[in-house]
Symmetry: D2
Subunit: 173 residues, 4 copies
């Protein structure tokens, strides 16, 4: 099991797709985006669910936290049932978010990967994507790494996703 953590527009999803391409075995990819897609539409913009403010701030409510905890248990169970799984997440709570994953995965072996990207470059890529609330990249660039402990880190500021993925793949084979 691999868990990638990084801010919005840091390049996590591109790394995940490259990992799936370069790893010899088939890996399933789950992520915080797939959890948000699974929510009722009403929770995708509410105080109890997950909210995206105009300045890029993201807030999550109690209902979201409860469903997220159950989802983490489900991802861990998928791994226990024999699947290789790579997760990309945004640790809005920093070390507290990592702790939630630790409780879900128990004694499963996890490779913790930090995905860094300079704030200005992530913000520029956010503009180029055009489908994200402006400001998320900058507000999350440092926040999500606070107090988090990694097995390895990659930095997409000057390195392509495929190169980052190969470095990660080298750690698990």
């Amino acid at each position: 099991m691999i868990i990638l953590n990084g801010g919005s527009s840091s390049g996590k999803t591109g790394i995940v797709r490259c990992l799936q391409a370069v790893l010899p075995d088939p890996w399933l990819a789950f992520g915080i985006d797939s959890l948000v897609d699974a929510l009722p539409a009403s929770m995708q913009t509410s105080p109890e669910g997950i909210g995206f403010a105009a300045d890029g701030a993201v807030t999550v409510g109690a209902d979201f936290r409860a469903l997220e905890a159950a989802w983490m248990e489900g991802v861990a169970a998928t791994v226990r049932a024999g699947a290789r799984v790579v997760v990309d997440d945004v640790f809005l709570g920093g070390a507290a978010s990592q702790q939630r994953w630790r409780e879900a995965v128990g004694d499963l072996s996890v490779l913790w990967v930090g995905v860094r990207c300079e704030s200005t470059v992530a913000a520029a890529r956010e503009t180029a994507r055009g489908d994200r609330t402006r400001g998320m990249a900058a507000s999350q660039a440092h926040l999500v790494h606070e107090g988090v402990i990694y097995d390895m880190e990659v930095d997409t500021t000057h390195t392509e996703s495929l190169t980052c993925a190969r470095a990660i793949a080298a750690h698990i084979s």
Copy 2:
């Protein structure tokens, strides 16, 4: 937990979105499409993964079956951890597919719902969607229900998704 089964273009996804809108509690929606999205790109068109033939036939290989089994365990674990979950699936193996779910869910309480749609109407909706291989709707319309036992069935041929969803919601509250 609710499991909906129906052929391609029978209207499952629309019913799921309406269920999430009409049910008073928040429900997570997972489905076979989300599993396919989680696969490596190479498995989305391969004999070991899942293949979509030009005539609409869908074939699945051993690697897909193994990951699917682990994914089912994960969905069941999400429910055991306290989340309400609605799943939409296409039982390409009919009764055998239902049996795979039964093994994953164990003693969890499940509402089994069959989603029917007349073959010609499903094929017409497939044309109107424009994003599915032509022929899937017709080839799956009957196949997926063979030998499957339901708690209730809905038919979208002449009934809107929202009306079907309200009928299902009435069963679980």
Copy 3:
């Protein structure tokens, strides 16, 4: 050239895809959605551009109107250059919107098609789609047809998109 007009979630896009499938010659499909996609991201949510209020009301500003007028000229020029084109639009201004198209198309031959759908059914389909602001379907169902003159009308309330498309195709061959 065919111009379809109908409210949000009335089924225009499905009819367009079916028209492209049943008409013997290749037709290009342009629509108000493709114009909105072509706008700068900042104009997709601004008073000068196009705004989607929480209650489903849509407002358009002067910058949008100016670009829309140029786009209509472009669509008309595409037809004059020999392409068959089907357009789906939402006449927020009713007869005034039709008049804008009349000025752009000049003496080109146009089949004007009204796409109706009962307000409650369109609203139900809006819920099933899940990707549109709730309330648009209901607020536009009657509004967009006010004062508009059609060559023919179709009603998707009880009729599939493919059937509607065949009726339209019969008018132009």
Copy 4:
């Protein structure tokens, strides 16, 4: 009017979105992808339309060429009607493709921009995107620039889209 030309995964779309964000006036963005989306589904995979081979080669037929020529006339007419338009295209025919645009735009003022990206980097980004046929980036990286004359060129290999967009914007204000 700005016309950008570059191979698949060279970063054209990101540059276009950034151009729309940094230019003070509103610009419409059209591109070869929007033309392909406007085609009948059957033409998106046929010898008369546009075909994507498993090795990334793209072939276009007579029907596609005819509709493309009419579309170019429409884009030019949109500009003549007063809209600012940025186009991103893939000149599969190199200089011949540029000549087709020249005939459509006539005496309109155009800024021709070449978007370069090293073949291996474009191929890596293609893997990271995951939604394009593998091989397109490599096969088009040089091909599309053969014999084409530019007003300026940008290279996304080591430069972010936003930086490229600012360089282009400096040319037109």
